[in-house]
């Protein structure tokens, strides 16, 4: 760009130190304070499209039988499919459509909890948009972050997307009943998980059939 400096004009240098990810982090802290005040345990559920996030949440809700004492924020681009599936379990559901945005952020979650009646709610699941890249970089204020990976995604998911798995408090290895058909060894994925995030326990599940759900509940410190 060629700029002709007009007579009498000055060039100003403005130092900003503006952290562009900070806004989301401080909104996430606000959400957390809100959850704590209300006595709600919030759980962010992340994972690929089709990894089984909704089925896992449904499985946990069914086992805990909390009815309206559980709530779910279902994030999706435009559809209400997941929200309808979760409503079958009797939990309160709010749908958050991100439009074209690829992840939920703390602002969207803050708006959602503003709109919800959370009286008497003990547990809130926040189902993130199906994506293994962006959601990890945008904390929402949840107490626990859970990443679901299914054996049907093939053997390399953890090594290809290590960053989101590093953010996980618990890693769920779902659809283990399909491992053989997919020629994937669940043990290899568990070994990758220990490399990518040695701190997070890995729990094998078959969410559709309810297998392993009890262990997930224990790992999140929930009471059955």
């Amino acid at each position: 760009m060629k700029v002709v400096k007009p007579k009498g004009a000055v060039i100003l240098d403005i130092e900003l130190e503006k952290d562009l990810l900070q806004k989301n982090r401080s909104l996430a802290k606000e959400n957390r304070r809100r959850f704590d005040r209300l006595g709600i345990l919030a759980i962010d559920v992340m994972g690929s499209v089709g990894s089984g996030k909704t089925s896992l949440i449904k499985g946990i809700l069914r086992k805990l039988a909390l009815g309206e004492r559980a709530a779910v924020i279902a994030g999706d681009l435009t559809t209400t499919i997941d929200a309808e599936r979760i409503a079958e379990e009797g939990a309160r559901v709010i749908q958050v459509n991100t439009g074209k945005e690829c992840h939920l952020d703390a602002h969207l979650v803050g708006q959602a909890i503003e709109k919800m009646n959370l009286d008497g709610v003990r547990i809130l699941f926040i189902e993130n948009v199906g994506n293994l890249i962006c959601p990890g970089e945008f904390p929402l204020g949840a107490h626990k972050r859970l990443v679901v990976v299914s054996v049907t995604e093939g053997p390399y998911t953890l090594m290809k997307h290590p960053f989101i798995f590093r953010e996980a408090d618990v890693i769920i290895l779902n659809k283990v009943d399909m491992a053989r058909a997919m020629r994937v060894n669940a043990r290899d994925i568990e070994r990758d998980a220990k490399r990518v995030n040695p701190y997070a326990p890995v729990i094998r599940t078959n969410a559709l059939r309810g297998r392993g759900i009890g262990k997930v509940i224990d790992s999140l410190g929930l009471e059955g």
Binding site: E15, L16, D19, L20, L21
Partner: protein, 120 residues
């Protein structure tokens, strides 16, 4: 993939700052992007340029400084620069000194708007 969201945030900050300082044209902006941030700085730059079109900052020079990654090891207790190719996503996941996977990323995930130069 969230480069667009970050670029929008940058543009909003640039335009607000220009207005607050009663500036005319914005000449340049300086960004700092950590090499371990899940961000492609070329995409960020592209979107910032696009979003600045038609504003007082259209055509401003965008400088990007890449910040080196640093990890702290829970096993040997040392802090080290991430070695190897920063595009190798597994590089920051182990301690370059003792090889342990029990490391925390201490630097290199940030994304800063550091400086704006404008004409008044």
């Amino acid at each position: 993939m969230h480069e667009f969201a970050i670029a929008s945030e940058i543009v909003q900050n640039v335009l607000e700052t220009a207005q607050q300082n009663r500036g005319g044209r914005v000449l340049s902006l300086d960004l700092e992007v950590g090499e371990l941030a899940v961000l492609n700085d070329e995409q960020v730059t592209f979107w910032v340029q696009e979003l600045l079109k038609g504003t007082v900052a259209e055509g401003a020079r965008i400088r990007v400084k890449r910040v080196k990654g640093v990890v702290g090891c829970d096993d040997c207790g040392r802090r080290s620069r991430v070695r190897g190719d920063p595009r190798d996503i597994l590089a920051p996941l182990s301690c370059p000194r003792c090889g342990s996977f029990r490391v925390r990323i201490e630097r290199g995930k940030e994304c800063y708007l550091r400086r704006i130069q404008l004409l008044r």
